[in-house]
């Protein structure tokens, strides 16, 4: 059974960025790539970067900010009333 996760999340997409990345602090440990349930992390010009459309896919668990030891990733929450919606949480 291959579960397509894109059909399993709902979002009210906001405008503000709530995940901020400072690639200069990144030590390429790869933990954010590995741990993101929504697989939002990749590389752009050889540097760590989050998917352009992350606001419509992020599950807001906050793991990326927690695992980032050098502090390259700052996670906060989307603005009030926006972001992921769990109807059966």
């Amino acid at each position: 059974m291959n579960i397509d996760i894109n059909n399993l999340t709902k979002h009210v997409v906001g405008t503000k960025d709530f995940i901020k990345v400072n690639p200069d602090l990144c030590n390429n440990c790869g933990l954010c790539f590995k741990i993101c349930v929504a697989s939002l992390w990749g590389k752009k010009d050889g540097k760590v970067a989050i998917a352009d459309d992350y606001k419509s896919r992020c599950l807001e668990c906050g793991s990326c900010g927690e695992v980032c030891v050098p502090g390259a990733i700052q996670f906060s929450y989307p603005e009030g009333g926006k972001g992921v919606i769990y109807e059966h949480g």
Binding site: I5, V12, V37, E66, G89
Partner: protein
């Protein structure tokens, strides 16, 4: 700028309980929820234990299927033991045992329901009691005067002043961060839990699952053990592990469990379909760190209170909410919300609550879980050893005498791996739990007096039957 007696950040079970208790005490109370309504954010299904009804009987009676259609009461826990090859090697169905002393708990173990309904229900109790709820509002910072927290500020710059701020804002707690109580979790103090919600027709669950509403898939082969919880018209399946323990994407492990042959058969029987994917952080630590500072109290997940053995979070969130508001009310009345005064909160949860009782054995409980369900090398002997002990006898290809010898031999083979774990992880827990009593039972004098009796029980060497 608005002024309150108490400001609560977070509209989950802890925040709402705090708001309810505060409003009932006549305190001017506001609580904030970043979702459009309580229960639609970072939360994942709950199994409410009998102690909820034991502690708050009147309140819990108002939780009815009309308010909460997803409610499903369970009496049994299924335990699937899954070998390295992905086969279920043994299944144990367990219900409350005869040693349970609290009478109602003899007939059920959990009441499962969706947080999207439960959180809404409890928030309404708070607003009915007179607390003000502000949804769709993200609190972004604390307001401080002379280093002491005196209020909060929202994303639009609106200020809400109060002598006490309660941080009920979950694992990623802004209040903990901005008050300096915690920046980030240690990687082995917080778990990541991806969860699928599956839809299944209510009547199918009634028929096939009935009151076997909880399941644990105990996994060998390097997969964290998974939980399965049944609700009115669906179920959750999820698994967790500490942040540093994932070797590949968490969803890969969960997909492995969902694709077990046995799991797929269950999906077919139930006509189940994936409906939602969730992911959240769940603090799971040996002992909470500091939970208060000047003008600030942390409760629930924000304080690291989920139970150190299996991370139940709602009950400790609500229990800590009650204590926090009682301490806050005293502090407000005396006009002293300094941390010296609020230290009383820590004393109360440590000495007068089930949270303190759990954490008295916190490091030992935490280590047992860490050593077993989350430790691949241990699960690889644990699963086959238990399967031998329980399922070994179901074999009719050999005389039972030979079969028993094979089973004992197989169990013996695992003992060199099992003994260090049992000695290093389980004995410390027993020592903690039994305390002086343990010493008494292991008293050498007592053991010596028991030995002759044991020797009497040994059979004489068996004489071979004379066969001519």
């Amino acid at each position: 700028m608005k002024e309150y007696d108490i400001v609560i950040v977070g509209g989950g079970p802890g925040g709402s309980m705090a708001a309810k208790v505060a409003a009932e005490k006549g305190l001017k109370t506001i609580f904030f929820e970043r979702g459009r309504k309580p229960g639609e954010k970072n939360s994942s299904g709950c199994g409410l234990g009998p102690r909820m009804w034991r502690k708050w009987p009147e309140m819990m009676e108002s939780l009815t299927p009309e308010k909460c259609p997803s409610m499903r009461e369970g009496k049994y826990a299924r335990n699937y033991l899954v070998g390295k090859d992905g086969e279920v090697s043994c299944m144990i169905l367990a219900h409350p045992t005869s040693s349970v002393t609290y009478e109602p708990a003899k007939s059920w173990i959990t009441m499962n329901c969706y947080r999207s309904e439960f959180d809404l229900w409890i928030s309404e109790l708070a607003t009915n009691a007179g607390a003000e709820l502000k949804c769709s509002t993200l609190i972004t910072d604390l307001i401080k005067e002379n280093g002491k927290t005196t209020g909060v500020i929202d994303e639009k710059g609106e200020k809400y002043m109060a002598p006490i701020v309660i941080g009920a804002d979950g694992a990623i707690s802004m209040v903990a961060k901005k008050s300096g109580l915690r920046d980030k979790w240690y990687h082995d103090h917080v778990t990541l839990v991806p969860t699928y919600d599956f839809y299944a027709p209510r009547e199918k669950i009634d028929l096939i699952i009935h009151d076997e509403t909880l399941a644990v898939w105990w996994m060998a082969g390097g997969i964290p053990s998974a939980f399965q919880v049944f609700f009115g018209d669906g179920f959750h399946v999820g698994l967790g592990n500490w942040m540093h323990s994932w070797e590949k994407n968490p969803l890969d492990y969960l997909n492995y469990v969902v694709n077990l042959k046995h799991f797929q058969r269950l999906i077919k029987m139930l006509d189940a379909k994936p409906r939602e994917l969730q992911a959240h952080l769940l603090p799971w630590m040996p002992y909470p760190e500091k939970t208060y500072t000047d003008g600030v109290i942390l409760i629930g997940d924000a304080a690291g209170f989920p139970c150190p053995l299996e991370a139940e979070g709602i009950f400790p969130a609500m229990e800590s909410a009650e204590i926090a508001v009682e301490v806050a009310a005293d502090a407000i009345a005396e006009g002293d919300c300094s941390q010296a005064k609020l230290k009383e909160y820590e004393r109360r949860w440590q000495e007068d609550s089930s949270i303190g009782t759990e954490f008295d054995a916190g490091p030992e409980l935490w280590r047992v879980w860490k050593a077993l369900p989350f430790n691949p090398s241990n699960m690889d002997w644990f699963i086959p050893m238990v399967s031998e002990a329980i399922g070994g006898i179901f074999d009719w290809s050999e005389p039972h005498r030979i079969r028993l010898r094979q089973i004992v031999g197989a169990i013996k083979k695992y003992l060199p791996q099992a003994m260090p774990t049992l000695m290093n992880e389980f004995v410390p827990l027993l020592t903690n739990v039994l305390g002086d009593e343990m010493d008494k039972r292991l008293d050498p004098q007592l053991l010596m007096t028991a030995i002759p009796k044991l020797l009497n029980l040994m059979p004489d060497k068996r004489k071979r039957r004379n066969r001519k």
